[in-house]
Symmetry: D2
Subunit: 306 residues, 4 copies
């Protein structure tokens, strides 16, 4: 069956469930988004793109950005990163601080908030926040092959003003000496990367290198080494959905990363990349309908890695 | 390169490291095992077997058994199991009780001790412990196509006498109503399944159905459905190495399950199954040299799922 | 105002609130008790006794017994006890196991369940459970100057059959090596000490030595040294009401110890001892009306230590 | 024996131990203090003052200030305070954040850092930080009857620059809505109250009202009601030494409050107030020699409340 047909079927099947769940409301700007939005896109290794719903409408990628900043930070400091952040699932919520106290300021993995703030701190080395933010944005444009990607300044401002728990995480880690820069600088980078706005099509295109061993199969450019691509995918599988990572692996079977904006990016090695967007979240903070869409897709196509 | 050559290379490369780590000593019988033992075996989907070292010597499979009792319990109660046990990584040690208190007696997943004790309780329904143990043993013999597999009675006795933490877990869950049978009955099944003795060759053979969508590719018999095989593999990937699961996924990239006897079983979908044995453990309670052997194997063969 | 009048006033004021709260239901025998029972007694240093309500009716003293077994264990091993049990409030429920894992099997204090099980283990040294239980019972009779005190066998049996969480605690500590005897032996002592049945008058009389520097002011016999009496009282103040200890100190200002049978014993140094009984418990597991009675008593008499 | 003789004996007995423990080093200004400093003072209800060592030298009172801001906040909002902060011992370190997550931003008691930051937030209502700080300073001068008490600006600045964990606590609570003002404003008040410098003589004098039912026995002025004084003392007894509160109650038997500057204030109801200063701390963050001095004092005088 053509991918386009598959996506259209999924959109039709899930239409009755749009709006189930709860839009993230702790970031006021995100709370304004219509919970019934839905878009989905697939890009295959040979560059074929299929899309359904509002797959061209930009949304706030939020924590999906953590996959890309992780790739950048590994490019900068390589395995040195792992002295400052772990590689294990957290067993707790995306913004939990408990583990940080027990493990002396070392976050469990780079895909929870605390870990991504350490990654942002790494990207700041020798630079101003503005430059680090610029590098991240350029990386997204390069990967998506689209110069139109921008940061939503209202969302960034909203997060800066209300991000108390992230500020707590950053100060807590700084107290343990696990941030090099002032917490507000690392948070500045972090809040802006989260506020990048992309569409499903752009996001799937940007993640394509994770499905082809670190290489962009369309342009042929190497983004990261094969081993690094595999390792990033492994982290997505075990840690990409916070305390719902096990369930996503169980139901979908693909490395994926969610964001509280309602987006999910998944990579199917050797096949392609998928992105879905549906703003209402489940209890674990992952897109409710988006997760179902991924599950249906894999059931219809067999693209599980297992 | 032939698989046999690959295995022999791995054995040679790791020979200098045999004995690194620490043999499990809380089960007196296991503490007697020579920490420098090493065996490894691979069975491919077309039935080819390669083996190196002491790959024919039986060892105590311990928690590797949890994969198989999970398959049996799912066969009995299907998705009903998930009301009594979760599907998320634990973020803590294999025998941690903390999470059980916070989550009211529901273990995080079926591959940690508490979860496997619930699974044992499921297998007890309507039967005596002896019958449930018999079913498990028959299942292992059937899967390995080998009637010589037995339970090591000394190990079972040793665990029964010293398994205080497991007894604590069982009583704690019983206090929450999440065991149906008396704790000692469920523990009786659990201690005996852990005491099953198998060789690497037998273990890899028994796990082969996980690499072929639930079907035994040699006999053609269906063991579990394709979807169930994928789901079991997903749980192995996210939860199979306790609080070292993320690291195993990161370094190896295959669904695997370890046991404190020093064994690890891994499945490479579409390719084959692997088993390794090296008794000395790392700080997370997984075979130290066994993990390295799996990592080397995947680096040499590219059998990662990512 | 005469103590008798004070007690009668308290009984009258609290009559409308009898039955508020919830009788402990995890021990089936205790669940049968009428939640509207109420008794209160005071014994002064010069031997004057005042009592109101059902102050002569025996009830299950449960955890109030921990004060007395602590005194016995200190008599046996002195400060050696403190290598096996701490002296700090727990910050969690009476039967929490979380802290035991973080602190490697050493309970926070001797007045929570885990700590009292260690104390019972101390009392077992060189003896059979029956002998240890006999010693405890004789101590209570001696202190209360009343040979009629007995153990309620039905309650003891009920606890033995349903005390899964206590069994979990005991096995967990045994796993850390912090019980010397088999868990079931220490639990045997513990369940029987909890099942001692005493009236308010007996209990206040038995606790009188804590109000007079370790000496029974009526008989003139020394029970414990002055320093030890102070220390036991200090532990009652900081740890005697589980995670409601701070609140009891705040509202009552006397060292006290509660039990899930609805009893509370308090000592007013230099003045006398009080006991109250009202079976329905508050959310922290302490007698709801009993706590109020203590608070009223101190407000009317000024017997706070502060 | 005269109090003066008692204090001199204590100073002599503890001289060999001065310097044991570790000066707080996370506030750079405090790390500069000579760890061998020692001072102690007692003020009795009839105004007699005895002092030994460097009892007239001002030191940073740090968390001892929490007792006084608590009294002020209760004067402002009364029992309304208890909807925002608990009254139970924490069972963890003075700056732990774990409990805040489990209990949704409500600190366990007003004498740990998080609780005192809430208290500071209460004192800010309708005012600028400068005014709130001014009120606290005036209160201390009034209580100590000494206009020379000042805030050490270098210490306040040092804490402001390095207080990352306190900033984490404040932001975390703000995320739960349990701070009304911006975290930096509440922290401004908190850091300045901690930086108040007082001598042992001043501190004992300031705390005298806690030993006389809320009344200053020298001037006859009422500071707080009798009930409130008792309650503050009860909180000091159960929560005044962080996770060493039980031990202080056990060994000393007086309501007390410590600070990381090495000071301890204790109140002996009906007798007098004591203050001690010795900068080197024990593992729980309380003055090591200061705690011993309090213990010796009570052993020599019998001023325990028990």
């Amino acid at each position: 069956m053509a991918l386009q047909t598959t996506l259209d079927e999924i959109a039709a099947e899930l239409a009755p469930r749009l709006g189930e769940g709860k839009v993230a409301d702790y970031i006021p700007e995100l709370a304004k988004v219509d919970p019934r939005k839905f878009g989905m896109a697939v890009v295959t290794l040979d560059g074929e793109t299929a899309a359904t719903g509002e797959a061209l409408e930009p949304f706030s990628i939020q924590s999906v950005s953590k996959v890309f900043t992780l790739a950048l930070a590994l490019g900068r400091v390589g395995d040195g990163l792992w002295s400052r952040v772990g590689r294990e699932p957290s067993g707790s919520a995306f913004n939990s601080i408990v583990q940080l106290e027990y493990e002396k300021g070392v976050p469990r993995n780079p895909l929870i908030n605390a870990g991504a703030i350490v990654v942002a701190d790494v990207l700041l080395a020798g630079r101003q926040p503005r430059e680090a933010i610029g590098e991240i944005l350029r990386f997204m444009r390069f990967l998506a092959d689209d110069e139109d990607i921008v940061i939503d300044r209202d969302v960034a401002k909203s997060e800066t003003e209300t991000g108390f728990r992230n500020r707590a995480l950053a100060n807590f880690m700084r107290g343990f000496g696990n941030l090099v820069h002032a917490p507000d600088l690392a948070l500045g980078v972090y809040f802006h990367q989260c506020a990048i706005a992309m569409s499903c099509v752009q996001l799937a295109r940007a993640g394509l290198f994770l499905a082809d061993g670190g290489r962009d199969p369309v342009t042929g450019r190497n983004v990261v080494s094969r081993e690094r691509a595999r390792r990033i995918a492994a982290l997505m599988m075990t840690c990409g959905h916070y305390d719902g990572s096990g369930d996503f692996a169980f139901r979908v079977g693909l490395p994926g990363k969610s964001g509280v904006g309602g987006g999910i990016l998944a990579a199917a090695p050797g096949r392609g990349a998928l992105a879905v967007w549906s703003p209402a979240l489940n209890a674990k903070g992952n897109s409710l309908v988006g997760s179902l869409a991924m599950e249906l897709f894999v059931r219809k196509t067999g693209w599980s890695v297992f």
